[in-house]
Amino acid sequence: MKRRSRIDIIQDMLTSIQEKGGKIKPTHLLYKSNLSHKRMKEYIDELKEKNLVEEIVEKKKTMFQITDEGYKFLEDYKKLNQFKEAFGL
C-alpha cells in the first residue's frame, strides 16, 4: 500500500469529518484517520492552526467541526488530483 503524504492524511481527516455531516467526535476521527493518538493530535493542532477545523463543545462533548476553509481545502485537493491525473504528474 502506498504511503500517505501529509496532504493525503489531512484530506482523509477532513473527508471523515465531512462524511459525518461536518462534525465528528475525536474518538471517531482517531479510528477513521488510522493514526496513532500522538500523530492525530499533531495533525489536529495543524488543522486548527490553519483554520481548517475548529473545536466545539456540543452537549458537553468535544467535537471537531470542519470550517469553510476546510471545505475549500477539499475542493482544491480534488482539483489537484484531477490535474495530476490529466498531466500524469
Binding site: L80, Q82, F83, A86, F87, G88, L89
Partner: protein
C-alpha cells in the same frame, strides 16, 4: 534577407498570427498560474517544475507574438517607404535585430519548457538521461542552422512528450488525460508545419491555426479540471 525568411505567410494573415499566439500565451499563463497554485498547496516540486515549464512557454509565445507584431508593421512600413526618397535603411537593420532577439528568446524558452516537461515524465533514474538529451539538443541548436534545428528538435522532444502523455492516458483512462494527449498531438503537428513552412509558405497559416486549436484544447482541459 533574414526578415523575409520569417515573413512566409500571406499578408492578410499578418497580425492574425500574433492574435492567435496571444490566446495561446494566455492559456499557457493560466496553466502556469494554476500549477503554481497547486505547488503552493501541496509543496510538490514536480508541480513547481511543471509551472516553470508553462511559465517558459508563456514567455516564449509572448516573445514570438510581439516580435511578429513589430516585424510585420515594421517590414510593411519599410516596404512601403522603400520607394520614397527619405527612406531610412536603418529600419531594416532594426527589424533584423528585433527578429534575432525575439526569435532567439522564443527558441531557447520553448526548448527549456519542453526539456522540463520531458524530464518530469522520466522516472527518477532516467531524469539525468532526459537532461543530457536536452543539453545536447541545445548544443546542436547553436552549432547549425538554428531555425531548422529548432523546429526539428522541438518535434523530437514533443514526440516523446506526447507519447508519454498517451501512456499516461492508457494507464488512467481519464477523460482529461485524453484531452491532454489530443492537445499535444495538435501542438506536435503545428510544430511539424512550422518546420515545413520553411520550404512551403502554405504551412504558415495552418501551423498557427493548429497550434491555436491545440492550446484551446489545453484550455478546455484546465477548465474541466478547475470547474
Amino acid at each position: 534577407m533574414v526578415v523575409s525568411t520569417i515573413l512566409n505567410g500571406p499578408t492578410w494573415f499578418f497580425g492574425i498570427d500574433s492574435i492567435l499566439e496571444i490566446v495561446s500565451t494566455i492559456i499557457a499563463l493560466m496553466i502556469f498560474g494554476f500549477s503554481f497554485k497547486m505547488y503552493r498547496f501541496n509543496k510538490d516540486e514536480r508541480f513547481r517544475a511543471f509551472s516553470f515549464a508553462f511559465g517558459f512557454l508563456t514567455l516564449a509565445f509572448l516573445a514570438r507574438a510581439l516580435t511578429n507584431l513589430v516585424l510585420h508593421s515594421h517590414f510593411l512600413q519599410t516596404k512601403w517607404q522603400i520607394v520614397r526618397p527619405d527612406f531610412d535603411p536603418g529600419r531594416i537593420i532594426t527589424a533584423q535585430r528585433v527578429f534575432v532577439l525575439g526569435y532567439l528568446a522564443h527558441i531557447f524558452l520553448t526548448l527549456f519548457a519542453y526539456i522540463i516537461l520531458l524530464a518530469l515524465q522520466f522516472e527518477k533514474e532516467h531524469k539525468k538521461i532526459a537532461l543530457v538529451l536536452g543539453s545536447m539538443s541545445l548544443v546542436i541548436l547553436i552549432s547549425s542552422s538554428y531555425f531548422t534545428s529548432f523546429y526539428f528538435l522541438s518535434l523530437v522532444l514533443l514526440g516523446f512528450i506526447t507519447y508519454n502523455f498517451y501512456m499516461n492516458f492508457r494507464k488512467t483512462k481519464n477523460a482529461n488525460a485524453k484531452l491532454v494527449v489530443i492537445s499535444f498531438i495538435m501542438i506536435f503537428f503545428a510544430n511539424l508545419q512550422f518546420l515545413l513552412q520553411l520550404w512551403n509558405p502554405a504551412f504558415y497559416v495552418t501551423s498557427y491555426l493548429t497550434l491555436f486549436v491545440g492550446f484551446i484544447t489545453l484550455g478546455l482541459t484546465l477548465y474541466k479540471v478547475t470547474r
